[in-house]
């Protein structure tokens, strides 16, 4: 789909403030409501806009610990990626699963209530994952920037 400057302007305003009503968004983008609506529908139909998601603050839910686990897999097993990913999906505390090209093969973002909880998850769920060659943990100290916005 070809995007023009008006589409980009709508998306910039929309991602800056996803709580805007259709009328407020149209006004900020400098369009009539009908024109703004037509463009939003087109962007949705083309899959550019995938949807709105609620942001859950896990700290407010009592999950004070977040660990980024960097995993190198034993690639002599052809199905290593699929099998580890499938097992990681069964761990409720895993909130992100990513695969990479680089030194790291797989990354998991894992939540825990506190260090005792982390120890339990690490020993019972993480260390029991199959095909792991190397595992390295980065413990979150602080979130300095978290902004899913694209530089449109």
């Amino acid at each position: 789909m070809h995007l023009d400057d008006l589409d980009r302007r709508i998306l910039r305003q929309y991602q800056a403030d996803p709580g805007l009503t259709a009328a407020a968004l149209a006004e900020r983008a400098g369009l009539t409501r009908a024109a703004c609506w037509r463009r939003l529908e087109k962007l949705q139909a083309a899959g550019v806009i995938r949807g709105l998601r609620a942001v859950i603050d896990w700290r407010a839910l009592g999950y004070g610990v977040e660990v980024s686990l960097r995993i190198t897999l034993d690639k002599s097993v052809p199905t290593a990626f699929e099998r580890v990913e499938a097992r990681a999906r069964e761990i409720p505390e895993v909130i992100e699963i990513q695969t990479f090209l680089g030194r790291v093969d797989l990354r998991l973002s894992v939540l825990a209530r506190d260090m005792a909880d982390w120890q339990r998850i690490y020993r019972e769920r993480i260390l029991t994952l199959p095909h792991i060659a190397e595992i390295e943990a980065l413990m979150r100290v602080a979130v300095i920037k978290e902004d899913a916005r694209l530089p449109l």
């Binding site: 806009i49 709105l52 609620a54 942001v55 409720p92 505390e93 680089g102 100290v141 916005r149």
Partner: protein, 151 residues
């Protein structure tokens, strides 16, 4: 911290998947009245658990074909280095996430770029020139999945 019951968790799960659901739509789904749902959502917002909405865009369709995760070790220690680094790195528009971490690296970054050539430009001109920057490791994202989490 507030106690959540099964209904609160179901509401959170539904909104994490579709944040545009109205109180009316949620009420119909869970067989409750609209004011009851509205009160629950309000309570989750006030407790800071529902922390707003995020627009989920397909980055690749918008011309951002590459995401890279960077681990950065600072070359110098001390609070001044941290503050200088953080101020400079958060100002880079291509940098979407900056986490201060403990481990092999000091910071974990998520960077978006149009393609690998564009990423190289960001890396050379913006990242390698950051104050106090030391060792930098880059891993190019191939696939990503966000999970519902412990709800």
């Amino acid at each position: 911290m507030i106690e959540l019951d099964e209904t609160d968790r179901a509401i959170l799960r539904a909104l994490a998947r579709d944040g545009s659901l109205s109180a009316g739509a949620l009420a119909r789904r869970f067989g409750m009245t609209q004011p009851t749902v509205w009160r629950r959502v309000r309570r989750l917002e006030e407790a800071g658990i529902l922390a707003g909405r995020r627009l989920d865009l397909d980055a690749a369709k918008l011309g951002f074909g590459v995401s890279v995760f960077c681990g950065i070790k600072l070359a110098t220690r001390g609070r001044a280095s941290l503050e200088d680094f953080e101020r400079a790195v958060t100002a880079i528009p291509e940098v979407q996430e900056v986490h201060h971490v403990l481990g092999r690296y000091d910071y974990r970054l998520r960077i978006v770029a149009r393609d690998l050539a564009d990423f190289e430009r960001v890396l050379r001109r913006r990242i390698m020139t950051l104050p106090a920057v030391g060792d930098v490791e880059t891993n190019v994202l191939l696939s990503e999945e966000r999970r519902p989490g412990p709800l």
